[in-house]
Amino acid sequence: MGKKSKSKTELEAELRAIRASRTTEAVTAIATTLIRWGAIVLIARYGYLAIDSLSGKATLADIGISFLSEVKVSVILSWVAGGGGVIYGLRQRKLRKDTVQSLQGRIQQFEKELDPRRSTSSLTERGDTREEDKV
């Protein structure tokens, strides 16, 4: 699609919209980061408090051994199943991205033969967000 030249008013309006977009992105990025890491910090805090309550009463080795003796087989099996599921998912994702990387160049080339002005989303070769686009 050919670009028509824009008037000063249109360019100013576009600049205002992009500025509003960037500001909103920055604010939401801060909010979502606070929520995510706030949860992790809270968990770490309560974990520390739980271990700290044992200080002076037992060594780390004692704590480790008594912890393992309290853990049931069913709990261990659940963790193995959950962890295994996550590893499976990550491996499948890697396989998918490898496939994208191997195919995307050929697809772009063939489509450009039909539409020389073919536009692109400009993601990375593996279909990931570009580093410079991350907030």
Binding site: M1, K3, E10, A13, E14, R16, A17, I18, A20, S21, T23, T24, E25, V27, T28, A31, T32, I35, R36, A39, I40, I43, Y46, G47, A50, I51, S53, L54, A58, I63, S66, F67, E70, V71, V75, G82, V86, G89, R93, E111, L114, D115, R117, S119, T120, S121, S122, L123, G127, T129, R130, D133, K134, V135
Partner: protein
């Protein structure tokens, strides 16, 4: 160590991994799902042009494709908080090019035949529905609040999807505007 403390630590570890799953792994997965849907839609639109149902040189084709490209590239920024913030930030300001994204597209569509217009309407509706889906489902908190509609969404008919898109017309216009502007910068 007493059993209660051991259970407490195990529960904490489980909550930690659930946080990682919800706030990182699920968000990455949902982002990839949205991009995959948009790529598929974009490819289908390309195939329509290749089949001669619409021209590669039509303005409407270019606008839709640029908007899809922009939404694919910047999908990681499109979440519920962002859309609400953007809507508030841009409310009341004079729209780009004197009218909204949907109005401008409507004017360009008037140059097409009835069949072509119906085709473009179908792709525009799907594109905007996917964007709306992504905005809602990329937020784990919103996701938990709409679990039942989540199950229903899969079975929504085209008519209902059209009504949902119409309901969220105003914020979708802002989102389309930004996605199109970003997409145009890529071409």
């Amino acid at each position: 160590m007493n059993p209660e403390t051991a259970n407490f630590i195990i529960s904490l570890a489980a909550i930690f991994f659930i946080c990682v799953l919800v706030f990182w792994l699920y968000r990455d997965y949902e982002l990839d799902v949205f991009r995959q849907k948009m790529f598929k839609l974009r490819d289908k639109l390309f195939d329509e042009a290749r089949a001669g149902n619409i021209s590669f040189d039509d303005d409407v084709y270019g606008i839709l494709r640029s908007t899809m490209n922009g939404s694919i590239r910047y999908a990681h920024r499109m979440n519920f908080l962002y859309v609400v913030g953007l809507y508030i930030a841009l409310k009341g300001r004079p729209p780009l090019e004197d009218n909204s994204f949907s109005e401008r597209l409507k004017k360009k569509k008037s140059q097409l035949s009835d069949e072509q217009r119906k085709l473009i309407d179908k792709y525009q509706m799907k594109m905007e529905f996917y964007m709306l889906e992504h905005v809602l489902f990329s937020s784990p908190i919103i996701l938990f609040l709409v679990l039942v509609p989540l199950a229903i969404t899969v079975h929504l008919t085209t008519r209902v999807k059209q009504k949902v898109v119409k309901l969220f017309r105003a914020p979708l216009n802002e989102l389309d505007e930004i996605a199109y502007t970003e997409g145009l910068r890529l071409s």
